[in-house]
């Protein structure tokens, strides 16, 4: 169908600007840092995180490792979990696995 003046339609997409998002400051080195391992509870996620921690420990003189489990992969991290990680760790790694 052609109309003399053409046709105007609207955009169905989200045109809002995304909110501010910033990456947390990264330490220059993991030497002397406490590394958190934050599992999402999928099968083998803890094993994967420990393997990564082993590699980190080979490369850096880390101060320690702490482990936490989110309890399930289907929901976001609870604020209490994140606060615990922030309190106990300098950096944290989150990973999934099957």
């Amino acid at each position: 169908m052609t109309t003399p003046q053409g046709i105007v339609t609207l955009d169905p997409r989200d045109e809002g600007s995304p909110g501010p998002a910033a990456v947390a400051p990264r330490p220059a080195s993991l030497d002397g840092k406490v590394v958190g391992l934050f599992s999402n509870n999928k099968p083998h996620s803890e094993e994967l995180l420990r393997m990564i921690a082993d590699v980190i420990a080979e490369r850096y003189q880390i101060k320690g490792i702490v482990e936490h489990n989110k309890g399930g992969h289907q929901w976001p991290a609870q604020p209490a979990d994140l606060q615990t990680l922030a309190r106990e760790c300098d950096v944290a790694i989150h990973a999934t696995a099957e």
Binding site: T2, T9, P12, W75
Partner: protein
């Protein structure tokens, strides 16, 4: 700001076909042709429900998305909705934005679920929804386009695009559209909306993060114990952890339920109990590999946390002894929101 107060970007085309091609080629469709959303058609949607374009219908907190009435209306026009269908679209999206629905996770999972809309109450009849023959299939504009609109909102606005944010392994046909009405005409029970605490005569839509339906053919005698036992056996295939299920019972079977005087609660309780199996069976079938080191394998476990996790509705055509089982995704819970009927909207 334009005179119609609509703020969505305007797209200009010489022809209707050119507009169609734009939406299809830019992934702003489910693959089927769409109705190009002109400002006039979008305005008609908003006017029908009395919402301003910038009214926030719901907010999804993980991605921080604020679903505005205007964007819902644009997608409803794309889907082919009539204005009187728009209240159901608004209510379904609002429900899916509630935290228990877990829209973000369910929209990204390999499990591949859709947003299903189950409408209960007089609204369904007033707008001509199908609760009978082929209620989950094709052929009814209201069913088809309400379900389609909701899923276009999910893909176009929320960004759950196949192969990008949506990594469904299989997906299922309900991702085009999955919307139907409860068949209250054949039901001995109060409508689901009333059962869920909405007032008598009210209408409501229940949004479910729905897997594909599993149809159970019923054989043998038609006592509720018999056909619900067969249903329970099929439910076991869902595995030991299911958040919620919708059970749709055909009118032929509902008649037997009516004759026997079973209540909705009795059906829920029966299915809940009948799907409890000893832990050792789940382990033997490899459906459960970590029951706990000190677990007593003689203890029983069912797929669902309680009878209230089983939503039971009558639906479908008069002929046929069938039950449909629709399971929800992962940890997602259904959410129900009221819908004003056209009669109530006109007041």
């Amino acid at each position: 700001m334009t005179s119609d107060n609509l703020t969505a970007a305007r797209l200009s085309f010489q022809t209707w076909e050119e507009a169609q091609d734009f939406y299809l080629e830019n992934g702003l469709s489910d693959g089927l042709p769409v109705v190009p959303p002109t400002p006039e058609k979008v305005r008609a949607m908003l006017d029908y429900v009395g919402l301003s374009p910038d009214a926030v219908v719901g907010t999804e907190t993980i991605r921080g998305k604020r679903f505005t009435a205007e964007k819902l209306a644009v997608n409803a026009v794309l889907a082919g909705c009539l204005p009187e269908y728009f209240p159901a679209v608004v209510a379904t999206v609002a429900a899916a934005c509630e935290r228990p629905f877990n829209l973000h996770a369910s929209s990204t999972s390999t499990n591949g679920v859709t947003i299903m809309a189950l409408v209960s109450g007089p609204y369904a009849n007033e707008i001509g929804m199908n609760a009978g023959v082929e209620l989950m299939g094709n052929g009814n504009r209201a069913n088809a386009t309400i379900g389609r609109a909701v899923n276009l909102v999910k893909t176009n606005f929320y960004g759950s695009v196949a192969g990008e944010m949506d990594n469904s392994t299989f997906g299922h046909p309900g991702k085009f559209s999955f919307c139907f009405a409860e068949n209250t005409a054949v039901s001995p029970w109060p409508p689901l909306a009333e059962h869920l605490g909405f007032g008598a005569g009210s209408s409501a839509v229940t949004a479910v993060a729905a897997n594909s339906p599993l149809q159970v053919s019923i054989y043998g005698d038609k006592s509720p114990q018999t056909f619900l036992t067969q249903t329970a056996h099929a439910m076991l295939s869902l595995g030991p952890t299911v958040s919620e299920v919708v059970i749709v019972i055909s009118p032929e079977l509902m008649a037997y339920i009516g004759e026997s005087g079973w209540t909705r609660q009795q059906v829920q309780d029966f299915l809940f109990r009948k799907t409890h199996r000893p832990l050792r069976e789940w382990v033997a079938w490899k459906r459960l590999d970590r029951p706990g080191d000190d677990a007593d394998l003689r203890q029983t476990r069912g797929p669902l946390a309680g009878p209230d996790r089983i939503i039971v509705v009558p639906g479908g055509g008069m002929a046929g002894a069938f039950i449909d089982i629709i399971s929800s995704w992962g940890s997602s819970r259904s959410v129900t929101k009221p819908i004003p009927t056209p009669t109530e909207t006109r007041r």
